[in-house]
């Protein structure tokens, strides 16, 4: 069982998809029930990872490694370390909640809708589990297709524009990434006489720094588009605004993390010398800081509820890339924790927009006001999500942001000082959004009879609230899970700066 655990996690959504195919399209009740069961099972089968994962062991765990396309040297190679563990758990949970949130929202072409969501789920899990660059690329591309259809078929008024923009933008990045992969692939063959896409093998190649540089930029564009970093971000507001709720949730919570994950898993370890050069660090950090402030400023003036949340993602993801390119343990670990946090908080914020959109079919902030009188439970949940997103201590966001800032401060206090401004502005646009939608008097009679959260909707928010509290109150396990893999990456990029982490850290001694 545990030998194939990762494959089981990877394929459970696909099995659900297969089951869907045998249900007639007219039977919507059976379709959504099956999809929900598949989503829930997908989450359940990933739970053993949490309990079976050894925090202090070195290297990848639950590894599966089989030959796949022998003449290319591509292998079916899956494995998991602390970084992928967190992102996989985020994916399986958010995937399930996204499906659950679609219960009433999607009535049109239900079958293909849920099929797309499940396919998307497999693709994303694959991205975080693949230890073979070719396999990674395949999953990376698989993700594009269902997302394209989710936006293009079930989206809002400008869905085609948004879907095509999303697809073309990401595809451009993918092509550049493919070139980078091939460079590494042939370089390895040149050095060792064997063709392989294995990530651990590729670490052994010694590229000249100049080559590393332009390979870095190729990968950078691919990942920066996905994150998205300023100035590659403009596909995001459109895609988010037009996508159905579940699409936005998945897009924000998981899909964007594929970009940051790419930096951590590939750019830094494979191109350590390039990653540590002053030019690259300065450019990427500058773009991150610009993203943080720019995203926050643009959020301030949005009139569209969903677009506001979308731009806030640009700001939050700026923190994640800032942390990564601080190139120190706190920066990177904070970044990964913040990726999970962003998934939880922004996922909640998009679900919140979804709840209200389902009732009123408009996202104009001006259409609302005084909703807290009508929907008190909803107002409470929204307040929680807002505070979690704004980084209130004892909730998840603070732990990530503070750790990132600590890492940034260690490299350059000025970076931290600029980042802190983003935190202030973050509170500003969220509070103002809350005030305009929830507080004040009810001015629009259409808002009068709105139903408060149903039990199903409460069930969607409950696990996210619990998770946010857990990370905020007791984040220690997260640091422990990340310590090993992060130390390994930092050691590769900046050897000898930090003491090596002993495989089995003495927890008691460290707390003194």
């Amino acid at each position: 069982m545990t030998d194939n655990l990762l494959s089981i996690i990877l394929l459970t959504p696909l099995a659900g998809l297969l089951a869907l195919l045998f249900i007639p399209s007219a039977n919507k009740q059976a379709l959504r029930l099956t999809a929900n069961i598949a989503g829930f099972l997908g989450f359940l089968v990933s739970l053993p990872l949490v309990f079976g994962f050894d925090r202090f062991a070195e290297g990848y765990q639950f590894v599966e490694n089989f030959e796949w396309i022998p003449f290319l040297g591509a292998r079916y190679h899956l494995g998991l370390d602390g970084i992928s563990l967190l992102l996989v758990m985020l994916t399986t949970l958010m995937g399930f909640l996204a499906i659950l949130s679609s219960w009433n929202a999607i009535t049109d072409r239900t079958k293909s809708y849920y099929a797309m969501l499940l396919l998307l789920q497999t693709g994303m899990i694959g991205v975080f589990l693949a230890l073979d660059f070719f396999l990674f690329y395949v999953f990376w591309e698989i993700v594009l297709v269902p997302m394209y259809f989710l936006i293009g078929v079930w989206g809002g008024p400008r869905k085609l524009y948004a879907a095509i923009k999303f697809f073309l933008y990401t595809l451009t990045g993918s092509v550049l990434m493919l070139i980078a992969i091939l460079v590494l692939y042939f370089q390895y063959h040149q050095e060792f006489g064997v063709y392989t896409f294995g990530i651990q093998e590729l670490l052994r190649i010694s590229l000249p720094v100049a080559t590393q540089h332009w390979v870095f930029w190729l990968l950078f564009v691919a990942f920066a588009i996905k994150v998205p970093m300023f100035p590659f971000h403009t596909w995001l507001p459109d895609a988010h605004t037009e996508a159905p709720t579940a699409g936005s949730v998945i897009l924000a919570a998981v899909l964007l993390k594929m970009g940051t994950y790419g930096f951590v898993r590939f750019s830094l370890p494979l191109l350590p010398d390039a990653s540590n050069t002053a030019t690259i660090v300065q450019v990427v950090v500058a773009l991150s800081l610009v993203g943080i402030l720019y995203g926050a400023f643009v959020s301030l003036v949005q009139q569209d509820w969903k677009k506001l949340v979308a731009y806030s993602s640009v700001s939050h993801l700026g923190f994640c890339t800032l942390g990564i390119f601080a190139l120190n343990p706190n920066g990177i670990a904070g970044s990964i924790i913040q990726q999970v946090n962003h998934g939880i908080s922004t996922g909640m914020l998009f679900l919140i927009v979804g709840v209200i959109y389902e009732r009123r079919h408009t996202r104009e902030i001006a259409e609302y006001g005084g909703l807290a009188h009508v929907m008190p439970k909803f107002a409470t949940v929204f307040a929680f999500a807002m505070l979690s997103s704004a980084g209130l201590p004892m909730l998840n966001g603070f732990v990530g942001e503070f750790t990132i800032l600590q890492g940034a401060f260690e490299r350059n206090p000025l970076w931290a000082a600029l980042g802190v401004i983003g935190i202030v502005l973050g509170a500003a646009y969220l509070l103002w959004l809350y005030q305009r939608t929830m507080l004040g008097k009810v001015t629009n009679r259409k808002n009068l009879g709105l139903a408060d959260l149903s039990w199903r909707e409460m069930a969607i928010f409950a696990p996210l609230i619990v998770w946010a509290l857990w990370i905020g109150i007791y984040p220690k396990p997260y640091f422990e899970v990340l310590e090993q893999p992060v130390a390994r990456i930092v050691e590769r990029v900046r050897p000898g700066v930090y003491p090596p982490v002993p495989p089995a850290r003495n927890v008691e001694a460290a707390t003194r």
Binding site: G370, V374, K441, L482
Partner: protein, 729 residues
């Protein structure tokens, strides 16, 4: 029983109360949509539709439907949780007094234990912020003040909020507020302190915006949270710099590092920056210039909230932070001078604004800002225990004054404008008498709490090596203004002729006992607590009367000998004479302030208007609060934030996305050209070939008739021709 190990429960009790309210509060106090929820126009529209029901106007009384019996439980439960904290605080403090070290730490677990980090001195350390609690004399004073005053405010609120909707919500927030404040003062490290620090910011947001149907309340809540957040940014940066300098964020370890003589002094520049940033953070929370603007607006919340924010919680946090960090501040005299200057300036500035306010709560709000200025003045001149002392006494009389003003407002049916009050003295006697005591206390009349602490501050500004005559002068002037504007408030409210309309006048009534008993207790406190810190020259009194300074000594004693020595040596006799005469001066000036207020607002009531007419510019300047709010609003909110946001948003659509769409357009244009080329040139060439072939093939096609006979004929003809050609040979 060892209460010292249970101190972590002190903040936890109110948290439990808040949690209960969040989970089941709605069931204990069920309610429909508040009558204030609807916009005027919408309400009229609905009322017209529901014609015939004839219940227009009935809406306003919806809030008064009979309360369910469980509603009482809400207030009792929440007050009860705070009472538990009070009792445990007292028990723990008593046990602390018995300890020889006067310091006790309880660590529950490691909260944020981050990864290794390179410090400024090149060593590698790991930030470890514990969920740990530290009880020492300073935090003992704080928990007693916070929980005690908060408990009285809770009791008062049971009566005050009785007719308000959202009763359970209110008490839940109050409990949460007390939780965060107790966490703030009990934390054993800077990062956990920050949890409480942000937490009280959140609760102030929730409570100031409690009447969230009012836009002004929502605005004030946002303002409080955001202005505080600006200060919080300073706190975060300070904490990070502190960590890379000392390798720890725990109070005891930082203090030990500062005190250890072997410590390299290379990083002292960093210490000054740390202190400055912590001070900046404090200007947000404790409402000092330039970040004080949120506090006066905070009175948008229900009056008990104002009392809570202004007296016991929230604003005291900044004073506490600096007192807690006094070991660092002692190393940074240049920052201390800034602290003292800003404190003195804020005290004076707020007092001048308070001179012209007409809203009874606004007067008190600015007086809080001013009194906090006094505390910062004390911190700045290195008199840390005096600052805490003033914080302690101020908590009593300011809570009293705010709750008293609440009682006045309650009696007046919601009226807050002093121009519509007057002659309330006999109608609400308990409120009047208690507020009378409070106003004497804040004015600095000997024998009452405010006299002892304020006078000690003034004395310290002269006698401390960091002090100066200028600071003393500003302090003295502010003291005079304080006595004046407080008694202006008293005379306008309680004396003279009644100025309210007949309807209101008929309904004026004293508040119920649940509200007046806390007032009486606070009044007693406003008289008595000052006697714990009588002036040093009153040496005839037994040690108990000097106990406050002595109690705080383990925390606030000078770490660097130089400061301490300059402090204690000198001509003792000369000091004594000076201290006595300064004391007499400040008492005289306080009495003068009261007398002038009496003359202006009671005896010769035309004076204010004449003054106003004489210097209209000055009056407008003060009335508009030195135009600071307008400046911030124009420059930061509308200019930088919204203007910048709009600019960038436009840029995003036009430039950044314009580039993308441009690329899309270019691709389309290129493909149009390609299509043209493809259709007319490439495809044209293909079709041309086909056309040519077709033309060329015309003769051939002519022959291809499809008729078998024709073909047979051609075959025969062909054979004959071939035979003719080849047969000749």
């Amino acid at each position: 029983m060892n209460f010292l190990d249970l101190i972590w429960l002190i903040p936890l009790f109110p948290l439990a109360g808040a949690a209960v309210m969040l989970l089941v509060g709605r069931r204990l106090d069920p309610q429909g949509i508040s009558p204030h929820a609807l916009d005027e126009s919408l309400r009229e529209e609905l009322a017209q539709e529901a014609h015939g029901h004839a219940n227009h106007g009935h809406d306003d009384h919806d809030g008064h439907h009979p309360a369910p019996p469980t509603r009482k439980l809400v207030g009792v439960l929440c007050s009860g949780f705070v009472l538990l904290s009070v009792l445990l605080s007292i028990a723990a403090t008593l046990q602390l007094a018995g300890l020889s070290t006067r310091s006790h730490e309880v660590v529950l677990y490691d909260w944020i234990a981050a990864l290794p980090m390179v410090l400024t001195n090149g060593t590698i350390a790991t930030l470890n912020a514990q969920l740990g609690f530290l009880l020492d004399p300073l935090s003992a004073v704080m928990i007693l003040t916070v929980s005690g005053i908060s408990f009285l405010i809770h009791i008062y609120s049971i009566g005050y909020m009785e007719h308000d909707g959202g009763y359970y919500r209110f008490f839940g927030y109050l409990n949460l507020f007390v939780f965060f404040m107790l966490l703030l003062v009990l934390a054993n490290n800077y990062l956990l302190l920050f949890v409480g620090w942000e937490g009280v910011g959140l609760c102030s947001y929730l409570l100031i915006g409690f009447y969230f149907h009012k836009k002004s309340a929502g605005d004030a809540g946002n303002k409080a949270f955001l202005v505080n957040r600006i200060g919080d940014a300073g706190f975060l940066l300070a904490t990070m710099l502190l960590f890379v300098t000392f390798g720890t964020v725990r109070f005891t370890e930082v203090n030990a590092a500062v005190a250890s003589p072997g410590e390299p002094l290379a990083a002292w520049g960093a210490v000054a920056v740390i202190c400055f940033l912590y001070f900046f953070a404090s200007t947000g929370k404790s409402a000092q210039f330039p970040l004080f603007v949120w506090l006066p607006d905070a009175m948008e919340g229900p009056t008990p909230v104002s009392a809570l924010i202004h007296a016991a919680t929230m604003v005291t946090a900044g004073v506490y932070l600096i007192a807690r960090s006094n070991a660092l501040f002692q190393l940074a005299p240049e920052v201390s001078i800034i602290v003292a200057t800003v404190g003195a300036a804020t005290a004076l500035l707020a007092a001048t604004i308070a001179l012209v306010q007409m809203d009874i709560k606004r007067v008190l709000a600015y007086s809080t800002v001013s009194q906090l200025g006094f505390m910062f003045l004390a911190l700045g001149v290195g008199a840390y225990w005096v600052a805490v002392f003033h914080l302690f006494t101020h908590a009593f009389f300011k809570a009293l004054l705010f709750l008293g003003s609440g009682s006045v407002i309650h009696a007046m049916g919601g009226e807050q404008d002093m121009r519509n009050m007057g002659a309330l003295r006999d109608k609400i006697p308990v409120t009047f008498r208690t507020m009378f005591v409070g106003s004497l206390a804040i004015a600095g009349i000997p024998g009452l709490a405010g006299f002892f602490s304020k006078d000690e501050i003034l004395w310290q500004t002269v006698s401390s090596p960091l002090g100066s005559q200028l600071l003393y002068g500003v302090g003295l002037a502010t003291a005079a203004l304080t006595a004046f504007y407080m008694w202006r408030m008293m005379f306008l409210t309680f004396y003279g002729e009644p100025r309210m309309d007949a309807h209101t006048a008929a309904h004026v009534h004293e508040s119920p006992a649940v509200m007046t008993v806390p007032l009486v207790i606070l009044a007693a406190g406003s008289i008595l607590v000052g006697w714990l810190g009588v002036p040093k020259v009153w040496s005839a009194l037994p040690a108990l009367f000097h106990s406050f300074e002595h109690w705080l000594e383990p925390v606030t004693a000078p770490t660097i000998q130089a400061v301490g020595e300059a402090h204690s040596h000198g001509d003792d006799h000369g000091h004594e004479v000076l201290e006595w005469s300064l004391m007499a001066l400040s008492v005289a000036i306080a009495l003068a302030g009261i007398a002038v207020a009496r003359w202006v607002y009671l005896v010769n009531q035309a004076v204010p208007e004449r003054l106003q007419a004489k210097a209209p510019a000055l009056y407008r300047f003060l009335w508009n609060k030195w135009y600071l709010d307008d400046f911030y609003n124009a420059f930061f909110v509308r200019g930088l934030a919204l203007g910048g946001g709009r600019l960038m948003s436009a840029m995003d659509r036009q430039v950044v996305d314009g580039g993308v769409n441009g690329a899309g357009w270019l691709t389309k244009a290129i493909s149009s050209v390609s299509i043209w080329w493809d259709t007319y040139v490439v495809d044209g060439a293909v079709r041309l070939t086909a056309f040519t072939l077709r033309v060329v093939s015309i003769p051939v096609r002519l022959a291809q008739t499809g008729s078998l006979q024709g073909y047979a004929l051609m075959i025969v003809v062909g054979i004959l021709v071939l035979m003719g050609i080849f047969g000749r040979n």
